[in-house]
Symmetry: C2
Subunit: 140 residues, 2 copies
DNA sequence: GTCCTTGCAAATGCTTTGCACGCTG
DNA sequence: CAGCGTGCAAAGCATTTGCAAGGAC
């Protein structure tokens, strides 16, 4: 997990401007290893650039997402969704085109659980698998 | 995906009371197949019980979660977290005890992608796998 | 010089909480 | 009848937006 050097080219693609704030935010996200939320990024940013605004952090993140440099861990849903616990676990396949959600079960998921359990000495309680992409109708 | 009959016993375990609002909310969640958010549940509930309060919906959901009857799809994190896209995908193993996050790569994940891709005629763009449980230190 | 970015403050949207009344057990 | 659950309104957070001033190109 090495930090990615923030590069002018990365922004220029779609006309973004290279500012010190953006470099800073990108550097923090890049070194954060994927576990930082906006407030944490903001806190780290403030230490290196006192006075930086929280909205600037959000806007930088938004820009990076737009450019495909950064992604949210929980990509497919905006807010919480709930489901009743019934017959075992199933997984979600979300179409980025039409928003359709398909549920599926997949034996390999159990194998992943088992093997991670063994390999990492980790007692797995919950497994969540979310796939997103384009369904047959929407691709093209 | 059949609806689960809401049962008095399900609530009594920890002293909850059986009310018409709770039955209604549970029924909606149960029939929703896991893709309803709070607002959608509220809307459906209002149609069958005009005047029901949104806070009641939230409190019912909270109770069901507490009783283990319902779970949020995005269990492990409260709000969005961001990560830089770099060398291919990795996955997350979150300890429910100490909060540690372990990243791992796993070849089976690629197999799942491929097979779902084929089986469902779905063009997969992003795969996300989140496992949670207890690490060797925290279990016991 | 143009117009994209920033900082600030206010607004928005989802979720939670305080309080008095009503209903379950 | 005791105490939990409800509805309402207000509070809390995270995130977004409008606007005037500042900086990149």
């Amino acid at each position: 997990m090495t930090a990615v050097k923030f590069d002018k080219k990365m922004l220029k693609k779609r006309g973004g401007r290279l500012t010190s704030q953006r470099s800073l935010v990108f550097d923090i996200i890049s070194k954060g290893g994927g576990h930082l939320d906006a407030a944490e990024i903001y806190a780290k940013a403030w230490r290196r650039m006192p006075g930086i605004s929280l909205s600037t952090v959000y806007r930088a993140i938004g820009k990076f997402k737009e450019l495909g440099l950064v992604e949210e861990c929980h990509l497919c849903q905006e807010h919480h969704h709930y489901e009743a616990l019934q017959n075992g676990s199933h997984f979600h396949l979300v179409c980025l085109g039409c928003g359709a959600v398909i549920e599926f079960e997949f034996p390999l998921v159990k194998r992943i659980r088992d093997e991670v359990d063994k390999a990492r000495r980790f007692n797995i309680v919950n497994a969540e698998v979310n796939l997103s992409g384009y369904c047959s109708r929407c691709r093209g």
